[in-house]
Amino acid sequence: MNAPLRRAGVVILVLFALLFANLNWVQAYKADDYRTSDYNRRVVVAQYERPRGIIEAGGTGVATNRSTDDALKYLRVYPRKEVYAPVLGYRPVGLGATGIEHSENDFLSGESDKLFADRVKDMFTGNNTGGGNVLLTINSKAQETAWKELVNNERGVDKGAAIAIDPRTGAVQAMVSMPSFDPNTLVTHDEKAAAAAYGKLNKDPDQPLLNRTTAETLPPGSTFKVIVSAAALQNGYTTESEIEAGREYRESGAVIRNSEDEVCPGGQIDLKEALTESCNTGYARLGVTLGRDKVLAAAKNFGFQDDQLTVGNLEGGGLPVAASDTGKITNPDGTVDKGALAQSSIGQRDVRMTPLQGAMIAAAVANGGKQQRPYLVQKLLTPDLRTIYTANPKTLRTPVNEQVASDLKDMMVSVVQNGTGRRARISGMEVGGKTGTAENAAGADPHGWFIGFAFDDKGEAVSAVCVMLENVPGGHASAEAARIAGLIMKAAAGRGGD
């Protein structure tokens, strides 16, 4: 009986050899796959081993950490909740982040190459010093003012957006979107609660998760007249050039009327006055006279059709910006659709614009024709607060020359001084802008827009802004937007707020 016993022993040896070989497969060959598998919760736990970097705006942390007692050692906290949510986004457990939390994730988590030296140091000291800190360009006073005024608007509008940028640099001073969301509910370590909160927000028809300043395009209405004015000024017109106006303008089946009968009823009006009163018939006719290509070229020069722009770090990455669009203005046979051109020239038909694009138009005018690339990240700091990156402003494009910019500035200042934008006035500052009331759907209240800029008493362009309120009831839709825009710019200039 000993021979079969020996063979049984050999069988056991073979079985154990198989176990050993397979164990090598699992623990050596496949180890890296398994260690980083999407199913492996340890990956998530490891991300929470060291504190994530803090995001600061105006000297206070707007994305911070609190240490916990559970397996994930740090809880992400957003103290200003809805106010900064469109900028910061959120960083949920085990899922991808959004906003700046997403675009600066490598730096915040400490995995960035820029922090390599710190990680090496950690290895020797045994500390976990955490990720790098991000300093935003946001002016906290302008941000808080924008949020407060937007949600407490006098018309009871529940959807809208406001953005302010420094025309000289492109630094974003304020970026708010309404309705917003509390990111704290989405980053809780109770993943079921987080998923439920996300599901609720995602299903909300008002789209609170949408950053309306960058991701939503709407018809810009009369704010688009600034573009048509630029096209005219670049093609021989001056601010005093007389253009044809009137109560009504019919073109290839399109009928253009003014918002009220008393606006430019006569036959002629000069360009500056036409913008000040927001004369629809004059601008529609002007657009048709200039021709499609000149209007589209001017729009493109100001940033329309650009689908590559991101707002975040000037070295790359940030919140994606939806392309603003003029539409084709073309008949099916390829010829110019003059009716569409007339309507497009007053920002209707297929013209769509993001609030950011609106602010960038105003900023380019205020900055002598140079449009600076917008950005949100001012500085990157190591965990021990050494600065390793400071934003170096870049000119994105130059849509108009200094002369045209100066003329446009005069015309827009006139709008706020004498015309439709009077509610944006700030005492002691030179404010210019353009209102917009955009028809959108049949029977729906129009959107109210205001794009504008402010110069301080030293003649410095301190802020450019765009405020958009969706479906404003009760007429004069843009007046409330102009009022809010004035308050935001005042706060951005360090003069307003509380």
Binding site: M1, N2, A3, P4, L5, R6, A8, G9, V11, I12, L13, L15, F16, L18, L19, F20, N22, L23, N24, V26, Q27, A28, K30, A31, D32, D33, Y34, R35, S37, Y39, N40, R41, R42, V45, D69, D70, A71
Partner: protein
Amino acid sequence: MARIPGMKTQRNAELGLLAFAMVLVAAYGATVEAARIGEITPTFWVPAALLSVLFLGLHVVVRYTAPYADPVLIPAVALINGLGVGFLRRLDIGDALGDKEPIPGIFSGIGGRQLAWTLISLILAAVLLLVVRDHKVVSRYAYTLGLTGIVLVMIPAVLPASISEVNGAKLWVRIGSFSIQPGEFAKLALVSFFAYYLVRKREVLSLASRRVLGIDLPRGRDLGPVVTVWLLSLLVLVFEKDLGTALLYFGLFVVTLYVATERASWLIIGLLLFFGGVYVAYLLGASVGGPFANFYDRAQVWLDPFSSANYNREFGNSYQLVQGLLSLGTGGLFGSGPGAGLPRFVPEVQNDFIFAGIGEEIGLFGLSALLALYLLIVERGLRSALAVRDSFGKLVAGGLSFTLGLQIFVILGGITGLIPLTGQTTPFLSAGGSSLMANWLLIAMLLRISNAARGPAAGGGSDRPGGGGKKAPAQLHGAMTEVIKP
């Protein structure tokens, strides 16, 4: 049992190895506390010391009742058992810290319960060594044991699922919070019965045959018991929904049959029957479902655990298997260190998946050492079978050792994705009393047989003056095997 002067008992070697094993267990406990609590508490050595006292007790019993027993078995098993207690205590500490509770006492939690089970198991092992002074006495009760074994196997199958089913496999008897796996004890009873039956029948089974296609087939009437056991194991497979247990019983029988008859044809027939049966069950599961569905699901999960369909399925998904693999993979070559892993990500890490939980912390090197320890135990058992002089002892020791090895293969192969996963305990490591008790009884039996193998007297130990009181049946000692009737 009196010692013969001049013959080596190697009991002192056993004592030394045991001390070394207990030092390792104490060091493991200290490392766990350092990693988990951040400091080594002044009482870190207490569980190791308690275990040392228990194993020392068994050592003393062996010294007086089986002085020539294999000196490696107890230290090797004690080390695994001690690591098991240590790992379960590590889970208790981790859970308590997670719930912000104070560090649990040594006797509380699953670690404390395992300590108590170890005490009971060692008492049972000692009692077996004290009562059964000669392993051949067991053959007197072979038929009683055989019947007991079959009843134990069948109990969970006939009980309602609410009492017997855990994680889809009906292997349990649960009364309140107390649960046992009767199948664990059935192994011991069935091996004893098979050994007795085969010693009687070996002549018939090995000689009377017809030659078909170059293979010696046994006579039809002699096939009866084999077919009965085959059917029994398939019934287990279907009604207890557990491939591993079926494989275990059937492997046990086929191997004892093969060892008894020295005829490879039994192996071939056995393997063909088993794998044929498994394949048919798989096909039935795919087409008919019903009682076979669980088995089919497990096979699917085994074939592709990482597919999202298998991972996210509501019932019978691959979640546990995948988490076990991820745990092992994360451990890598060296592991995270005792106490530094995250074993609670693996469901049932205290039971079936303890190997995966430990593997994250001790890595490939540690698990290889653990495998080597298991192999040592099994091969030591087989060596006793080789050395012992009587057929019954050979078959019992061989069968028990092989079954132990097979069980280790089935559960570890299941966890590491080598074979479909089945609900087996990891011997000496998993939390739970029945497994620990049954396997310590198995070790006690091996100790008893190895004592006879290495001891001085030739022939039947019972004939020795001062040997076991009862006389073993005469037919075991050569003469009375059943003769061939043409």
